[in-house]
């Protein structure tokens, strides 16, 4: 009952004209980002943080959140029309979506994609509304050892699931933790790893690192690709017929459940979730051999999973301060810039803000359903802008974003350096997500550990004698151990 009341409070905040406007702006930018290859939601959110810093916190976070789930809507458009995923999570939609387009059924594919996203997003939000208060009550019992255990769990699961090599994932995370240590130590005021460089005393800003690792590296990777064919056919009849809707109902439901549950786990990124959902759908089908030839279930299920996970990912972010994806790590950074510390106290001290953002996600979902289908011709026309014209503009926007963080060209150089690093990391199959999550969580992890040790007078047993902290650490070790075992088994085969 209290959740419903809080949600109504949230709607009263979300439906204020100013917040509605920024929800719309974020939804449109998110869709554009999802449509255009080369600029994912994480980098786009990071680019807009300097601008969002000047907005009231509620409007800023509403806008950035809308970019995140808007990108999920938009990514499917290019997957279906061009066989090119606009966003990594839309890769699997290419398999059947593009085939449907080739059969003259691009309209129903796009329509079902939008409907599936809306239904899954709505159900995901319901889960968010009812699960969040439960987790908040649990999290209010946490002390520094539990926080440390939770953060280690989040990081270790992200490391275990991020890539094929555990060592590479651990290296990325360890490197991210060291990057987080650069700057002034908040407890003592001493400078760490700044080497006398004044610009480093403020540490590495997450916006600069994300824009470099994702946007710059993406443009460099795309520079290798040949030009793609623009879709020339007409798109007619956007609405799926009754058979399409009937065939899609169960896949949407299954995709929603899969997406919601997996979206709660740090490190399980949307591309993985959509593949799991697609695979499950194939196994449930009476005709699995037809998947990949233009089955509508192959579009409905992953698109549902995609959007459900954006809602469920907000649960650990808001209640525990634990981001599950790079985009949510950027959102966490934005929250901190606005002086908001995600965690249970956010629900207690900033009720209007939290529930306003949650309600705005539903409003945004409605906007995206209503706007996306009529705007498809616009997105298709935008796709006709040749990439050689688009990419340099993206690079300029990245420079503006990096400069806008602290009005410093030093940050622009750092962004470029991370861009080259990100490109090399992609080639050597080092995952970037553990690095980003570690950079964001590093300070909190360190504070939690130092406080735990201070409280226990140096005894690490405090992490094992407190059941919740111990539980988190055991699960963390188990996830790393399982990943190691799985890697070993794969090598043997």
């Amino acid at each position: 009952m209290e959740s419903i009341q809080n949600l109504l409070l949230g709607f009263s905040v979300a439906l204020q004209p100013y917040n509605l406007f920024f929800c719309l702006v974020g939804s449109l930018i998110g869709t554009l980002v999802g449509v255009l290859p080369g600029l994912g939601p994480a980098a786009s959110m990071a680019i807009l943080i300097p601008f969002a810093a000047g907005l009231p916190p509620t409007a800023a976070i509403i806008m950035l959140t809308a970019i995140y789930y808007g990108a999920m809507y938009g990514g499917s458009t290019t997957s279906i029309l061009l066989n090119i995923p606009g966003e990594a999570a839309s890769v699997v939609t290419c398999l059947d979506g593009y085939q449907m387009a080739r059969q003259g059924r691009a309209g129903p594919a796009l329509g079902i994609s939008a409907i599936s996203s809306f239904v899954a997003g709505t159900i995901g939000l319901i889960g968010l509304v009812f699960l969040s208060p439960v987790l908040v009550d649990v999290a209010l019992m946490f002390g520094p050892p539990e926080h440390f255990g939770l953060l280690v769990l989040g990081l270790s699961v992200a490391v275990s699931l991020a890539g094929k090599s555990l060592a590479k994932g651990l290296a990325a995370a360890a490197f991210g933790l060291l990057l987080a240590a650069v700057g002034i130590d908040p407890q003592s005021g001493l400078s760490r790893y700044a080497f006398g460089v004044t610009s480093l005393m403020g540490g590495f800003d997450v916006v600069v690192v994300v824009v470099g690792l994702f946007a710059i590296a993406e443009v460099l990777s795309n520079a290798e690709e040949p030009a793609f064919e623009i879709f020339q056919g007409k798109i007619a009849g956007l609405w799926p017929n009754r058979k399409d809707l009937r065939d899609s109902a169960a896949p949407i439901a299954r995709g929603t459940v899969v997406g919601f549950l997996l979206g709660l786990i740090p490190g399980v990124v949307p591309p993985v979730i959509t593949f799991v959902s697609y695979d499950l759908e194939k196994r449930c089908s009476k005709h699995p051999e037809l998947f990949g030839t233009g089955r509508i279930e192959g579009v409905a299920s992953p698109e549902g999973a995609n959007n459900a996970c954006t809602s469920s990912g907000m649960i650990p972010l808001f209640t525990l301060g634990l981001p599950t994806t790079a985009s949510l790590a950027v959102l966490l950074g934005a929250l901190m810039i606005h002086g908001l510390q995600p965690g249970p106290m956010l629900f207690v001290q900033q009720k209007e803000f939290v529930w306003g953002v949650i309600a705005s996600m539903y409003v945004g979902n409605v906007m995206l359903l209503v706007l996306n289908l009529p705007l498809i011709p616009l997105w298709v026309n935008l796709l006709k802008i040749p990439y050689p014209l688009l990419a340099p503009a993206i690079l300029v926007i990245c420079v503006i974003a990096a400069y806008g963080v602290r009005n410093s060209l030093f940050d622009v150089w750092i962004m470029l350096a991370f861009g080259f690093l990100g490109y090399v990391m992609r080639k050597l199959e080092f995952p970037a997500i553990p690095l980003i999550i570690a950079l964001i969580l590093g300070d909190r992890l360190e504070n939690a550990l130092r406080q735990s040790l201070t409280l226990s007078r140096g005894s690490l047993l405090v992490l094992l004698t407190r059941p919740i902290a111990a539980g988190f650490l055991v699960i963390a070790i188990a996830s790393v151990g399982y990943s190691l075992y799985y890697q070993y088994q794969r090598r043997r085969v």
């Binding site: 290296a171 003592s188 520079a223 690079l395 080639k427 992890l445």
Partner: protein, 151 residues
């Protein structure tokens, strides 16, 4: 990939050694009273261990796939683009954002595809104007200025 992993492993070990050195120059404290160098020390050790793990793994691996480095032409494109970006940031504090962005767009677009010079310059000028109006005027975001206050 094994050779690349071996090299990456040694780079990580070197980074870890540098980080360890940096941490040891800070007060470490005691477990009961950890100071600024305590946690970076642990992080540096973890980084070093992962580097060693990668080295050991690379030495054991046989016949794995090569690194997917780009072919000659794309490699040249990436190199050109990288140099152009470096030049762009070097020129910016001298020429200001507007002129340096225009020049960067011209060079970068030409590197990617050989449109005619007037078409490239026209597009670059239009994009520079759009970016300037959008970010500087509409969004009030700061843009770098050059010598003598060049915008």
């Amino acid at each position: 990939m094994a050779r690349a992993n071996l090299l990456a492993g040694w780079v990580l070990v070197l980074l870890a050694a540098l980080a360890l050195g940096g941490a040891l120059r800070l007060p470490i404290g005691r477990p009961g009273s950890p100071e600024p160098g305590f946690v970076p020390l642990i992080e540096a050790i973890v980084l070093g261990l992962t580097g060693l793990a990668l080295i050991a793994d690379a030495r054991k691996t046989r016949g794995d796939k090569p690194v997917d480095w780009p072919a000659e032409e794309p490699k040249r494109m990436i190199f050109h683009l990288s140099l152009t970006m470096i030049g762009y940031i070097l020129v910016m504090p001298v020429a200001g954002f507007t002129l340096s962005t225009f020049l960067f767009l011209v060079v970068a677009i030409r590197a990617w595809r050989r449109y005619s010079i007037p078409a490239t310059a026209g597009y670059a000028a239009l994009m520079t104007l759009v970016i300037q109006v959008t970010f500087s005027v509409a969004l009030s975001m700061p843009l770098p200025s050059g010598l003598y206050g060049l915008p």
